[in-house]
Symmetry: C2
Subunit: 740 residues, 2 copies
C-alpha cells in the first residue's frame, strides 16, 4: 500500500510502490482546492472567491512597486526643493494612494498563492484548532508519554478515541470480513529481514535525509526544499513571475528529484539547517523501518513491519488450501504497522505507529469479474480519473458501472472494492461531498500495477489519502516465490484435458559433438534458448537450404548449422490444468487517518441557549459514537438515581455502551458535555414512570416509559429503527428548563 | 504483570516483579500434578496411580542392583567351578527373577519421577499431538514466515484462530470494559527508554544467558541446568537418593540462583553446549526487550513495550481528570507486547510477541472496598492459598467471600477481580475443574506488592499462569512521578475542613549562630529532622531542665541545646483535602495462553459412525466459536443451493459468521469438517420449505422453516435461548443417511 499526501503538505515514499515519480504533481495541485461542501455546519471555512491570475498580479505588483518608488522620489525632490505645502501634500496623497493600490495587489497575490482568500485559510486553521482542542481536552487522543514531554509522531487514543477506533474496526470486520467471507489472519509485527528483503522494503523503503553538519540534527531533504519554496512564494512578494514559476515547478516535481538533484537545489538556494543556520550534508537515503534484532545473538536482524500485507502473502499457499484450492478469495488483516519517520508533522495524519486494515483479494488474472459486482454498479460518487487530472479538470460524479464499462477503472473486482470502500466510509459518517476516488497517474504507479485508486478525504489539511485500492498484478507472490523457493501459485483444473501444441527443440548431440568439439555445449544452449519464431525460421531454412549460419552469442560468432544437427518440431500434448500466479487486488485502509477525517467531518459548533458561547458537537452516527447514551437524573434525588441505575443496568445487558452522570451540574451543562463526546442520545430521568430521550443534533425529546427506555435506545443505535420513527411514535417533550 | 510457568517446564523472570526468589518451588511442584477432570472426553490422559515414595524406591533399586550383581557373581562362580547344570540353571533363574524385580522397581521409579505413570505421560503427549495437529492443519495457528523456515517464538493466527481471538477480545471488552465502565486506552508499542527506565525494565527485565565459547550460540542458563537435572533424574536411575534430592533441590530453587551460583552449578556438573559439547561462558544477564532507535539520529533508544501497563500509568493524571477527579476507576488496554526470548519453547505458550489485555484499577489505599463486591461473594472455586502451598496440600474449593473475610485474599477489590476473572474464563469455555487461583508465596512477590493471585489453567503442559491479579500498591505511579517530576496523585476533598495538629520545630537562628558559629547549619538540620516523638521529648526536657545534650549526626557529637535556641510547639491547622498516591490493582491477561488452554479444554475425539476412525471436535461455546453456523445443501441441486444462499444472506444480515459449503462431499464428511472447526450449528437444506439444524456435540437435529432458520440460530448463538429450548420447541429430525 501507499499513502500519499497532497502536494502542499508533504510528499512521501512508502509501501510496495518504490518508484514514485510524480511529474504531474502540479496538475494535481491545481485541482486540490477544497470542494464545495453541502454540510450546513455553523463553523466551517469559506470557499475562496476566484482569484485573479497570479502571473498578471505579480507583474502588476512589480509595476506598482516601481510607481511607488518613483512617486517617493518625487516627494523627496519636492521637499528638497522646499516646494509649497499644498504641492507636497498632493504628492504625498498620490504616494499613499499608490501604496494602497500596491497593498491591495499584494493581498490578492497572497490569496492567490495560498490557494484561497486570507480569511479562508484563517478559518480553516481556526476550525482545526477548535476541533483539535476539543479532541485533546476530551482525551479522544493524547500525545504519547506526555509526562516525559512526548515523542514526535506517537499518539495514544484516550477513552472516547479508543471506543471510536474499536467501533470503526468492528464495522470494518462486519462490512468486509464477514460480508465477504474473507480469511482474516493475525501475524506478528516483528518480521525477519528475509521477508522484507523479498518485498523490497529493506532496499527501497527510504526517504532522503540531510544532516546539520555541525550538530548532526536530521531533516527530510524534500521538506526543507518545500518549506523554502513555500515561504519564498508566500512571503517574498517581490520575486519575479519567472522565479515564482520556477519555485512552483520545484514543488510540483519534488517527489521526482533524485538525491543528487535535491542536493543541487539545496546548494543553489543556499538552504541551511533551520535551527542553527549551519551548512547541510548532501541528501542520502534513510530506511524508514524500525530495526531490531531477533533473539540474543545479534545475528538475526528484524524489523517492525511497515505494513501488514506481507504476512498475508507469505501465507498464500496455506490460505489457498484452506479455501479449498479455489480462486478468487480474499484474506484480511488488521494490525499495527510502523514507520520511523525522519521528522513527523501533522498530528494524527503522519505518525510513527499506526493501525492498518488490509485486504488482499487473490484472483485469476484472466478473470477479474466479481460475483457481487452488480450490487455496487449503480453507485455514483466523486471520481477523479487520470484523464481529468492531466487536463486540469476537477473530480466529478461518475456512476461506478460507467467507469468500469468505459475502462476508466481497470476491472470489475477493482470497481467492486471501490464501491465497497465508498459505502464503508460514508456509513462511518464521512461526508460524501468531501470524499473522492483519485486514480494514480501512470508515473505514480509501480511498473507492475494494473491500476490504482486512492480514496481521498478532504479535511483542513487538504485532500488526504486514506484508503489505497490497487491492482498489484502478480508482483508480491512472485517476489516471495523467488526468494523462498516455494511456488505461490494457483491452478485451474480443466473439466476436460486440453490438447496444446508445444515447440520441441532437440539438438542431436552426436552430430554437434563431431562438428563443434569443445564448443558443443555453447551451441546446444544457444539452440535451446531460441524462441518459437527463431526456431521455426531455422526449421524452414534447414528444410529448404540444408544449412544456415547460426549466431552463438556465448561464442561471439556464427557457426554452420546443418539439418542433421537439430530436430525442430511442434508436438501435441495434453494439459490437465493451467498453473499461474494469481493477481492481487489490495484495498489498504489507514485507520488513524480515516478516524481523524471522521473527527473533522463530524465536528461543528452551535450557540448555547443564552447565545453567550459556542458549544462543540460531534455528530457521530450511532455506529461509531464512543458512547451511545448518557443517563441523567434531572435533579439530585434518590428516587431518580435509582431509576437511572435500573436503566443503566438494562443498557449494560443490552450491550449499549453508556455513561451515568449523577453530578449536580445543570442539565444544560450535562447536555453540552455529552454533545462534545458525540453521544447521540441522552435519557433524562424526571419521574419514576416516564423519562425523556433527547437526540443530540436535533435536540428533540420524546417521552418513553422507564422499562422501554433501554430497548428504544438499543433499537435506534443498532439501526433497527430511525430517530424519525421514534419521533413519530412517542409523545413529544417540550423542555422549559433545559438547554433547548 | 508476571507470567510464570510450572517448575517442570520453565522458569521465568518477567513483568514488573523483578525479584523472583522462589525458594519454595519444590512445594509448588509437589502440588502441580494434574487435577482430576470431570469432563467426559473420549480422549484424555489418565490420572496417575499413587506412586510409591521415591526415596524408598531408590533405596530398593540400589539394594536390588547389589543383589543382581551378587547373584551374577554366584552364577559366574558356579560356571567357573563347572557345577552341575541344574545347579547353574537354578542360580540363573534366581538371577533373572532378581532382574525382573529390579526392572519393576525401575518402572515405578520412572513413574514417580515423571509425576505420573508412563502411560499417563504418553497419553498427555499424544493428546497434545492430536490437538496440535488439528489446530495446525485447520490453520487455527501457523508458524510465522513458514515459507522462510519460520522464526522461533512467532506464530500467526489463521482464519479460525483469528476469529476465536477476536471473539475472546470482544467478550473481554463486554465483560470488563463495558460492564465496569472502564476507561480503555490504546498506546503505541514503540516506547522511549525513559519510560522503561522508570518502570525498571531497562535495568532488570533480564534472563541469564550463557554462550557456546566457540560458536557463540546462546542458551538460557537456567534451561541448561534444568534440562541437565531433569535428564539425570529421569534417565539415570543409578543415582543415589541423596544425589536425586540434591538435583530436585536445584530444580526447586532454580529461579533464586544468582548468575554466580548458576555458573558454579554449570561448572560443577560439567554442563556443556548441547549442540557442540563446547565449554560455556559464565552466565550474564540479557535484556528481554526488543531494542530499536526512534527517529533517524540514532540518539534516542526505544524499545517494543514488554507490557501495556506503562501506557496507562503515564496517562494517570489525564485519566483521573477525565473521570471527574474521582476514585476508584479502572483503565484498560488491549495490545501487543514483546519479549525477545533467548530460546523460545512450548509453542503458543512462550512467544516473542503476544496480545495482552490489562486493567489498572486505581483505588484509595485506605479504602479497598468495591461497590459490586456482593455480586461475586458467593462464587466458589478452586483456590490455592499460600498456606496450603507451604504445607504441601493441594488447591481446594473456597467460597470467595470466605477467602476475603478470613484475610486469605487481601481486600475486597482484589477479591472482586478474582471473581470476575473466574466468570470470564469459565464463560469462555475453560473447564472450572482445571482452573485454580494460586496465591503468590511471600518470596515470589515484589516487596511493594500487597497480594498477588494467578489464575492458572491446567493443560497438557501442566498448570499454566494465564492471568495475574496483583495489588501493586503505589509502586508504579510513584516511580513515574519521581522520574518525570509530574505528581501522579489523587485527592480526597473533605466535606468540611479538618483541624489537624501539626508539629512545628522553629530553630532560633540567632542564638544558634552565637553558640555554634560555623556548625550552626548542621545543628539546624538535625533539629528539623527530628520526628514527633524526639521533638516532644526534647520540648519536655528543655522545659524541665532548661538544657539537654543533643546528638548531631553530621557533626558526630553531642552539643548542648538550651531552651532559648529552639521553639517546639504543636499548632492547629485546617486541611481541606488529603493528597495521596493511589494503589493499583492489576488484572493482566495473557490472551494467547488463555486461547491455547481453551483449545485444549475444548478438544475431544469421538468415533465416526462406521467406527473406523476417530473424529476431532472442538466444543467451543457459541460465544467464542470462530464460525457460528455452516449451511449445506444435502445434495448438489440448484433449488437447494438457492435456499442455502437465501439463508446465508439472512445470517449475514443478522451478523452471524457462517460458511456455506456447496461441494458435493458427503454430508457426514461435511459435518466432520465443521466439527473440527468447532462450529456449533449446521443447517442442512433438504427441502425448499424446511431445513434441519444440527447441534455439534449432541448431534441432535430439529426441523425449522426456511424463513425461521437464521433467527433460530441467532437466538441460540446470542445466548437468548438455549439449545435445550430449541430442542423442546421444534420437531425432531431422525437422520438416516448422515453421520448420526
Amino acid at each position: 500500500m501507499r499513502f500519499l499526501f497532497p502536494l502542499i503538505f508533504s510528499s512521501v515514499s512508502s509501501g510496495h510502490n518504490f518508484s514514485p515519480c510524480f511529474t504531474s504533481r502540479l496538475l494535481r495541485a491545481l485541482s486540490s482546492k477544497p470542494q464545495p461542501s453541502t454540510l450546513t455546519t455553523f463553523f466551517n471555512w469559506q470557499l475562496p472567491p476566484m482569484a485573479a491570475p497570479e502571473e498578471s498580479l505579480r507583474k502588476a505588483l512589480a509595476e506598482k512597486q516601481l510607481a511607488v518608488e518613483a512617486q517617493g522620489n518625487v516627494v523627496r525632490a519636492l521637499k528638497a526643493a522646499k516646494a509649497s505645502k499644498p504641492e507636497i501634500d498632493a504628492a504625498i496623497e498620490a504616494l499613499n494612494s499608490l501604496k494602497l493600490e500596491k497593498s491591495s495587489i499584494e493581498k490578492q497575490l497572497l490569496a492567490s498563492v495560498s490557494g484561497n482568500d486570507g480569511d479562508g485559510a484563517f478559518s480553516r486553521e481556526a476550525f482545526r484548532q477548535t476541533a483539535v482542542n476539543t479532541l485533546e481536552r476530551r482525551l479522544f487522543y493524547i500525545p504519547s508519554f506526555k509526562i516525559y514531554r512526548g515523542v514526535a509522531g506517537l499518539y495514544d487514543y484516550g477513552p472516547p478515541g479508543c471506543a471510536v477506533k474499536s467501533n470503526v474496526l468492528a464495522f470494518w470486520r462486519q462490512h468486509f470480513v464477514l460480508e465477504e467471507n474473507m480469511l482474516e489472519v493475525d501475524c506478528p509485527c516483528v518480521t525477519p529481514e528475509v521477508v522484507l528483503k523479498a518485498s523490497g522494503h529493506v532496499d527501497k523503503f527510504t526517504d532522503l535525509m540531510v544532516k546539520d553538519e555541525k550538530t548532526g540534527t536530521c531533516y527530510r531533504a524534500d521538506h526543507l526544499l518545500k518549506d523554502f519554496c513555500n515561504e519564498k512564494l508566500q512571503k517574498d512578494l517581490s520575486i519575479s513571475a519567472e522565479k515564482a514559476a520556477e519555485l512552483k515547478h520545484v514543488l510540483a516535481t519534488l517527489d521526482d528529484l533524485s538525491a543528487e538533484e535535491l542536493g543541487a537545489k539545496i546548494k543553489e538556494y543556499g538552504i541551511t539547517a533551520p535551527d542553527t543556520k549551519n551548512p547541510l550534508s548532501n541528501p542520502y537515503p534513510f530506511n524508514l523501518m524500525f530495526q531490531t534484532s531477533i533473539g540474543p545473538s545479534g545475528l538475526n536482524p528484524g524489523y517492525m513491519r511497515p505494513e501488514t500485507a506481507q504476512g498475508i502473502f507469505v501465507n498464500f499457499k496455506d490460505l489457498y488450501y484452506y479455501n479449498g484450492n479455489k480462486l478468487p478469495f480474499a484474506a484480511a488483516q488488521i494490525g499495527q504497522a510502523f514507520r520511523n519517520e525522519i521528522s513527523p508533522r501533522q498530528g494524527l495524519l503522519r505518525v510513527r505507529e499506526f493501525t492498518l486494515a488490509e485486504i488482499e483479494h487473490f484472483v485469476d488474472p484472466e478473470d477479474k469479474s466479481h460475483p457481487k459486482y452488480s450490487e455496487v454498479v449503480d453507485l455514483e460518487f466523486l471520481m477523479f480519473p487520470r484523464e481529468e487530472q492531466m487536463s486540469g479538470q476537477s473530480a466529478k460524479k461518475i456512476r461506478l458501472g460507467d467507469a468500469v464499462s468505459k475502462g476508466i477503472v481497470n476491472n470489475e473486482t477493482l470497481g467492486y472494492f471501490i464501491g465497497r470502500v465508498y459505502l464503508f466510509l460514508t456509513r462511518l459518517g464521512i461526508d460524501k461531498d468531501r470524499l473522492r476516488f483519485r486514480q494514480h497517474l501512470a508515473n505514480e504507479m509501480a511498473h507492475y500495477a494494473a491500476d490504482c485508486w486512492d480514496a481521498e478525504i478532504e479535511c483542513s489539511y487538504g485532500w488526504i489519502e486514506c484508503v489505497g485500492i490497487a491492482d498489484r498484478s502478480a508482483y508480491d507472490l512472485r517476489a516471495h516465490s523467488e526468494k523462498s523457493g516455494v511456488p505461490l501459485v494457483a491452478a485451474e483444473k480443466f473439466s476436460e484435458p486440453r490438447e496444446v501444441e508445444k515447440l520441441v527443440i532437440a539438438p542431436v548431440k552426436k552430430e554437434l559433438g563431431l562438428a563443434f568439439k569443445g564448443n558443443q555445449k555453447n551451441v546446444v544452449e544457444a539452440l535451446e534458448a531460441m524462441n518459437e519464431k527463431e526456431a521455426l525460421e531455422m526449421k524452414a531454412a534447414l528444410e529448404s537450404k540444408g544449412e544456415v549460419e547460426f549466431y552463438v552469442c556465448t561464442l561471439g560468432k556464427n557457426v554452420p548449422m546443418k539439418k542433421n544437427m537439430v530436430s525442430i518440431s511442434k508436438e501435441k500434448k495434453k494439459e490437465y490444468q493451467r498453473v499461474f500466479t494469481p493477481s492481487v487486488i489490495e484495498p489498504s485502509f489507514g485507520i488513524g487517518r480515516i478516524i481523524y477525517c471522521l473527527f473533522e467531518h463530524s465536528f461543528y459548533t452551535r450557540p448555547s441557549k443564552a447565545g453567550d458561547e459556542q458549544l462543540n458537537v460531534f455528530r457521530f452516527p450511532a455506529l461509531v459514537a464512543p458512547i451511545k447514551c448518557t443517563v441523567f437524573p434531572l435533579v439530585q434525588n434518590q428516587q431518580y438515581e435509582d431509576v437511572a441505575k435500573v436503566i443503566s443496568k438494562s443498557l449494560t445487558v443490552a450491550g449499549i455502551s453508556h455513561k451515568i452522570d449523577i453530578t449536580g451540574t445543570s442539565i444544560g451543562k450535562r447536555y453540552a458535555r455529552t454533545d462534545e463526546l458525540g453521544v447521540p442520545f441522552a435519557i433524562t430521568v424526571d419521574s419514576t414512570k416516564d423519562v425523556t430521550i433527547r437526540e443530540r443534533d436535533s435536540k428533540l425529546q420524546v417521552r418513553v416509559g422507564v422499562e422501554e427506555a433501554a430497548s428504544v435506545v438499543k433499537s435506534v443505535t443498532d439501526g433497527q429503527r430511525t430517530w424519525e420513527d421514534v419521533w413519530a411514535n412517542f409523545p413529544h417533550h417540550i423542555s422549559g428548563s433545559a438547554d433547548d
